[in-house]
Subunit: 512 residues, 2 copies
């Protein structure tokens, strides 16, 4: 058995059975091994940022890492932006990067590059395999690293000769460390804060936004009046009818500062210290009020849900807390407007669907009007590396073939990873892609004003996407995805309903 | 004057007047400064790998660096693959990467990343500016680094507050070190080799492949019988009627080994030690015969042309050496075949055009049948990071608005950077893009066989680009570029002639 085959068998033994790939020559033995070993599903992406974005979406929905197969330094580099988003979402991912044979590197041939340097910049764990006999053990260690709480980026660099040489040994599945329990002192001290009656805001992330976590947080909130928020960039949240309505911290700094100004205590539950996304001249980076006290209930890698449940019980919150009924979103007619769109979308979202959102300026108002939609999961771009929506939706659809996926994608961002549509067509994935075609990097207009400047001819030249206009219907069609253009909310509703009633990928270009 | 404005003025003072950009919030002050300071041409790319590939093509044709404007770590990462190609071509490039304000980095907000780590992996020079007062001086140092022989990658990281704060000082243009002369001993020793009558092969790269260099090399070759070759991946070569016919070292290892087996001496002229692109089991990496002697006439950063001219004079080679007349390429009819296509292309190439080639398997036979074409420059992917053709052609067209550019692009590789077409449409660039639509990663089939494996269902799944077929005509049209599909050589010739007779971007999908 060669090293490559030992790696495929090791990954399967570690529970990794899905591989998103854009392979090259250095990965040919791994590819050949896939023909020998059954059980690994391989999905091709036409650019590496699609590959890594798919692995992110897959991991968000399964909690398990996918493998990615990338070609040398440039292949890894092309995928780094969505690895960065995945890292910010604390999802597990196992990147396999083929590289030159160990004896070939010294000649510094054209594809030779600093693969380790690139990998270290975005990975929690990096290792270059030294011999075919070590491939299996290294692969098992990579899987262990990826699965270690809260979910990590592991990158295994595989020189071609370690893949092609005989002597491969399958690595045994390694035990994964459990989430550590929160110290009793911490729990008791936060219970005391919550009993104090002082105004408290809990920032929930990671598992605190999934079913068990958000339920426990809601029990606490109902009892104590604690305000619940998700980070501005959240990895995944369960929401819709019957679920607690937890909104995000606003992106706009002034609105965020105003929100926090009301609270004496900020309690972090698997979340980081709230800070503005960017710094702006004369504005603070930290969002909490200057005299507020920030408490850490649980770090991201700790037992976030256990801590929330202990607290809820300790405080005496009833187990069967009633979830307030949210207003059902209504179909709205007329031109695009963020809130009206959100209401319309909320009325249309299929039961148990998955929403992948990278809508940038068009997405700021989406959450609140959709609290009363049918139950669904919402995934969001987490690291600010735009172009996340299309591939995240694609990976989520691979992970959950029985659920409808709705991708909400800004047009400028969507052009980064438009190749994802081809993978959706190839795999016949059940994704409705909505492209917000405002034909401008609208966020940059706003940011230019935020930093105190005024757009002029040169800056408008760099924001404008309308010369030429991108024909999203033709673009999707060229990659095998049926598409329609709509110009108002009623047109959107009609086309969305039709798309939701069928299976397979579809794209709606909403000209706004 | 704020730091951003001082940087724009510094770049202009250093002779850098073209900026390829995909900016984000951190770069807004730089963008705002463009509105205040005249003279900097900005070209928008819809993905960063387009931006950096454009800068590469621009620098290959002008010898001057363009600036790139990239957004934080993920923006840089998205552009790294074509920075890698540029690095391998020894072209100058000045990347400006915006980053968080210095006081904001500590909060590790979503876009925070290891920008320096990413930059170091692909740059010769990396620096993070510390204050607005230093921006100008740092920009001048970056320009100096980029222009230092043989051409370097300089990456300047610009925290947002150093751009927005007052106190900017324009940096003076710094002197650039000249190419160092080759030591007289070296020159004399190689003259002796060339006089010995023993079989010698000169590998020419960098300036040795441009007009003065290739002319001097040809004088030496005519006199001494020295065989001339370009590297398999060459940055730029002047060729066609009236120029010496210098072929590449073959990509296929066995063919390359056979070529070198004839030569007792290998003389490197601005080129690296010839080695196979990849390693293969049981095959050597180095191409020179085991008993051959390798000599370095000039390193890439040395005075390559001066060394060749000294040698030619010293050996007594006539200055007016006659260039052998090459057979004029002929139009061929029928189905696509690499040699027949090359001949047809050679018959059609417009006088003084620029060819940008990233044709992968379809490109292996292009050079020899086009020796007798109209005079032209040929640019090639140099670092193996595919997706180079479209953006390189785009940047070359910006650099040389009066010359027709012909882009020869493999379909799989082209999907990496298809967004380039939009920039071609926006800037009304005079580029004929030829896409070789074989609907498969054909090179991987070959490489799988090279490493001794056989394609099976799983590997074919990862090579196949035909499910669904990509409609390149619709794809180009969706991005504003007129396109036609052809299926045979006579159809290609007709459409190419029509495209060559007009101005503006055009795409020909050649289904092969």
């Amino acid at each position: 058995m060669n090293g490559a085959e030992s790696l495929v068998r090791t990954l399967l033994a570690s529970g990794i059975d899905t591989c998103f790939a854009n392979p090259g020559t250095s990965e040919m033995h791994f590819v050949a091994a896939l023909d020998k070993v059954a059980g690994m599903r391989c999905v091709l992406g036409l650019a590496e940022t699609v590959v890594t974005g798919c692995a992110d979406g897959y991991a968000r929905m399964t909690g398990r890492p996918a493998a990615t197969l990338l070609h040398c330094g440039p292949g890894l580099a092309n995928g780094i932006a969505n690895v960065h988003n995945a890292r910010r979402a604390n999802v597990p991912m196992l990147n396999i990067v083929g590289d030159h044979a160990t004896h070939h590197r010294q000649y510094d041939t054209p594809l030779t590059s600093d693969v380790e340097g690139l990998a270290r910049a975005v990975s929690h764990w990096v290792h270059t395999t030294e011999s075919s006999a070590r491939v299996g053990a290294d692969g098992a260690a990579a899987a262990q690293a990826a699965l270690s709480p809260p979910g990590q980026i592991a990158t295994l660099i595989l020189p071609a000769d370690t893949a092609w040489s005989d002597g491969g040994v399958v690595g045994e599945r390694l035990s994964v460390p459990a989430r550590t329990a929160v110290a009793p002192d911490t729990l008791r001290s936060i219970a005391q804060v919550l009993r104090s009656g002082e105004r408290a805001l809990m920032v929930l992330s990671g598992p605190a936004l999934l079913e068990a976590g958000i339920t426990a947080a809601h029990r606490i909130a109902q009892l104590t009046g604690t305000h619940l928020r998700a980070p501005t960039q959240l990895p995944r949240i369960v929401r819709g009818r019957g679920r607690p309505a937890v909104d995000r911290i606003p992106y706009a700094v002034d609105r965020a500062l105003k929100l926090f100004s009301d609270f004496r205590h900020v309690i972090l539950v698997g979340a980081k210290t709230p800070a503005s996304f960017f710094a702006y001249p004369g504005k603070p980076s930290l969002l909490a009020a200057p005299d507020a006290i920030t408490h850490v209930l649980a770090r991201p890698e700790q037992d976030v849900v256990g801590a929330l449940e202990w607290l809820a019980d300790e405080l005496g919150a009833p187990r069967d807390t009633r979830i307030p009924i949210q207003q059902a979103p209504q179909l709205v007619r007329g031109a695009f407007d963020p809130v009206a769109f959100a209401s319309t979308l909320g009325a249309l979202l299929p039961e148990n669907c998955i929403v992948a959102e990278d809508a940038v300026t068009s997405g700021r108002e989406l959450l609140s009007p959709t609290f009363g939609a049918a139950p669904h999961d919402w995934l969001q771009i987490t690291g600010g590396a735009i172009g996340h929506g299309f591939p995240c939706a694609t990976g989520a659809a691979i992970a959950c073939p029985d659920r409808k996926v709705v991708c909400l994608q800004a047009d400028g961002a969507g052009m980064y990873t438009v190749q994802s549509l081809w993978t959706q067509a190839r795999e016949k994935l059940d994704v409705i892609n909505v492209v917000f075609a405002n034909r401008v990097y609208k966020i940059l207009h706003g940011e230019l004003l935020n930093v105190g400047a005024q757009p002029g001819p040169a800056s408008n030249e760099l924001f404008d996407l309308a010369r030429p206009e991108i024909d999203w219907v033709a673009l999707a069609g060229s990659l095998g995805v049926e598409a329609r253009r709509v110009e108002d909310l009623e047109g959107f509703a009609d086309v969305f309903k039709a798309a939701a009633a069928r299976r397979g990928p579809f794209l709606i270009e909403f000209r706004i």
